[in-house]
Symmetry: C2
Subunit: 107 residues, 2 copies
DNA sequence: CAATATACCTCGCCTGTCAAGGTATATTTT
DNA sequence: AAAATATACCTTGACAGGCGAGGTATATTG
């Protein structure tokens, strides 16, 4: 990854929630999509991704269920909850604010 | 502080370097300036600030010297080094890139 | 049959933030 | 005169998130 992880920190959960707003998804795909959208400049490491899922689950922001693939590796799907959508909107707003403030501090 | 510290993380050092680009400064003042510029919505906690200074010093991005105040509390001043300016520019560029990428991921 | 891609997971380290505590001086309020 | 507030510095230890390193299992491609 070419972007310092400390710059991503605080946005990981939000990014995952974002990728769940349109449709349910699963870890591997979410990561692939992020890489595709950022030209492989950004990537959520496995361990980061799965620890984020545990956190989101614990906080009731996502639900999870096993896919019924009859072929290939099993997939654990995630869906965003109402609370998840709420938190997502809050996080986005906070990000907008933080962005502005940081920009105003960098000459 | 109203902005989640995880959103600041990764920018702390850059913000400190930014405030040293115009003129030497000291911890307490740097913090006051940040609060003034962000309407008190952002603040570097003491411990965070001073651990950042140690890091910047260790990495040769700032130099430090004691002020010669004849009245009031003593001040430890910091000045940015050439390497500091270099890293500052790099960090700013990286921030611009990270910003764009995160924005592109948030629907 | 080996390598690669898909797909999941855990453990334990590292690093940055910060709550809580401390020191010392100067000014303002009671 | 004493207490409170502002200025100004500092350290310790806990905590949380990122991730390197390791693991499992299935399907496809060379």
């Amino acid at each position: 990854m070419s972007i310092a992880s400390d710059l991503l920190r605080g946005n990981t959960d939000t990014i995952i929630l974002a990728s769940l707003t349109g449709h349910d998804s699963y870890g591997y795909l979410i990561n692939k999509e992020i890489m595709a959208k950022t030209d492989s400049q950004m990537e959520l490491k496995d361990a980061t991704l799965y620890s984020a899922f545990r956190r989101l689950e614990k906080d009731g922001l996502v639900n999870t269920y096993w896919g019924d693939e009859e072929v290939g590796a099993r997939r654990r799907y995630y869906s965003i909850t109402d609370k998840g959508r709420e938190v997502y909107e809050q996080n986005k707003a906070e990000w907008q604010k933080a962005k502005q403030m940081i920009d105003s501090l960098l000459v």
